[in-house]
């Protein structure tokens, strides 16, 4: 996963994170965004269900 052709720190002159130059960063960003949305949806549903239990 080293983002430079030559696996050497002396070749690094800029971005050095995993997947730089490939699809991984964008893919990970989309997954992270989806996680946030899904968690909010699940949270809203479960909280709404619990609140219903207190409806008179």
């Amino acid at each position: 996963m080293f983002p430079y052709e030559e696996a050497s720190w002396s070749a690094v002159d800029g971005a050095m994170f995993m997947g730089w130059g490939g699809a991984l960063p964008g893919f990970a960003t989309v997954i992270a965004m989806i996680i946030c949305v899904v968690v909010l949806v699940i949270g809203q549903r479960s909280e709404a269900a619990k609140m219903k239990m207190f409806d008179k």
Partner: protein
């Protein structure tokens, strides 16, 4: 012509003066950089103090605090006496041989890390040495952190002196050996297997977490924790808001902890003249830490909230988020750090429940948060970071990060924590120095050990000795 030469000589003198000034400024910056990590890391201990006291019942609140404060106090001198020597002396193994970087081995350690003889010049005020004291301070605070990790797990039933002995073994020996092997540039785990653990997920957190597990096996659960059928009762601490605030303070202190893992540039002992590096000599920036720590905290909180909705586990999730990514905070992409931390937040509570079902009473979930998640973080880096040179240099000249190396590192960190924790606590148990007597535990440790009251105005009304119905 003579005028031009004089002008050039004057400019050269100016340039030399400016260079000398810049060097002094850089040295002052480097010293101040590490100096400031020390109070930041003391905030970790303010956090541990608050969260342990909050997690204790009213009858034990002050004794939990005393134990925590005393452990901190004993870590500093014992790390000064021999812990610092171990870090420099044992990277290549227990033989104390010198390593390839020339900054390790028993002879080298004995020349810089003893408080007597010629070595003492590096262990006290010295106008020619602006590095040793602040490095020592940062490492002593790492040591104190390991003791505090164990401290929370054993609250409400451990003897004070027995606990302090355990804290010294952990903080000034066990984790230091792990740091020498897996953190030092001459460490055999690094040079032979490419182990990379930038933020000490394994060599601090996992070692401390599994040391605590070894102790807990011999210490046993609090009275009332488990029913005769083996099912567990929840023993609530007396002050959840204090506990949660304490956990947040630990998060604050972690910025200092991780900052102290960075080697600043431009000094004789720096890896680079112009850029900061990790302790392994690989490049890093504080911006990298900023991106990844924040995303990891967020991921851990969100992951643990999903299934627990409990502020204690949410803040523990924040810690788990940092710990699960700590090994690779220098090279993770922030969104990837978020995803890994999220997964750590999700598995956190089930792992703690699994341990509880096996009869282990870990009062604050330290074994899981620091031990299990620490090893998870070490292994995760082996999956995602494979191929990165683990040290300064090129693949081939130096080992690369790889899954097998990280697994080997994880196993070694587990053993370095669990074995001493189990053996020393077993010996203390045989000597009658591990657990307080049943009567004292039921009465509450504050009334037995502490000549002060946590909440004197509440004393008459508070259920200070009721604890749990199962008692």
């Amino acid at each position: 012509m003579e005028e031009q030469i004089a002008e050039l000589a004057a400019k050269l003198a100016e340039l030399e003066a400016a260079t000398a000034g810049a060097a002094i400024t850089n040295t002052m910056f480097a010293e101040t950089f590490y100096y400031l990590t020390i109070p930041l890391m003391i905030i970790i201990h303010a956090g541990f103090l608050a969260y342990e006291m909050g997690a204790s019942r009213l009858k034990n609140v002050l004794s939990s605090g005393v134990k925590n404060i005393l452990a901190f106090a004993f870590m500093i001198p014992t790390f000064y006496f021999f812990g610092w020597w171990i870090y420099w002396g044992l990277p290549t193994g227990i033989t104390g041989a010198a390593g390839p970087a020339g900054i390790s081995g028993a002879e080298y350690a004995s020349s810089i890390a003893w408080g007597w003889g010629d070595a003492a010049q590096y262990m006290g005020p010295n106008i020619a040495d602006q590095a040793s004291g602040v490095f020592f301070g940062a490492f002593a605070l790492f040591a104190a952190t390991t003791a505090s990790i164990m401290s929370g797990a054993v609250i409400e039933r451990i003897q004070t002196i027995g606990f302090i002995i355990l804290a010294i073994v952990l903080g000034s020996f066990a984790w230091v050996v792990a740091a020498a092997w897996g953190w030092h540039a001459d460490g055999w785990l690094v040079t032979k297997f490419g182990v990379h653990d930038f933020g000490a997920a394994g060599l601090v957190h996992a070692v401390a977490g599994f040391f605590a597990l070894g102790v807990l096996i011999n210490l046993g659960p609090r009275i009332g924790k488990f029913n005769p059928d083996g099912s567990a009762n929840h023993i609530a601490g007396h002050n959840m808001p204090l506990t949660v605030t304490g956990l947040m303070l630990i998060i604050v202190g972690f910025w200092g902890f991780l900052m102290a893992c960075v080697i600043v540039p431009g000094e004789a002992w720096s890896w680079f003249p112009d850029k900061p590096s990790t302790i392994y000599g690989t490049p890093i920036t504080l911006s990298a830490l900023s991106f990844n720590i924040l995303m990891a905290i967020a991921g851990g909180i969100i992951g643990s909230w999903l299934f627990t909705r409990d502020p204690f586990w949410m803040m523990s999730g924040a810690l788990a988020g940092i710990i699960s990514t700590a090994s690779g905070l220098d090279i993770y992409f922030p969104a990837l750090a978020f995803i890994i931390a999220f997964s750590a937040g999700i598995i956190l509570k089930p792992c703690a429940d699994w341990l509880e079902k096996r009869g282990i009473d870990d009062a604050v979930g330290a074994v899981t948060v620091h031990g299990t998640i620490g090893l998870y973080g070490v292994v995760m880096l082996g999956i995602w970071g494979a191929g990165y040179p683990a040290l300064q240099g090129a693949a081939g000249e130096v080992p690369t990060i790889n899954l097998m190396g990280q697994i080997i590192g994880a196993v070694v960190f587990f053993l370095l924590g669990f074995v001493p924790g189990y053996v020393v606590s077993f010996l203390l148990k045989k000597l009658g120095m591990l657990r307080i007597p049943e009567g004292a535990e039921l009465a509450g440790m504050d009334v037995v050990k502490v000549p002060a009251e946590g909440y004197p105005e509440w004393a008459a009304a508070a259920p200070s000795s009721s604890a749990h119905p199962a008692e």
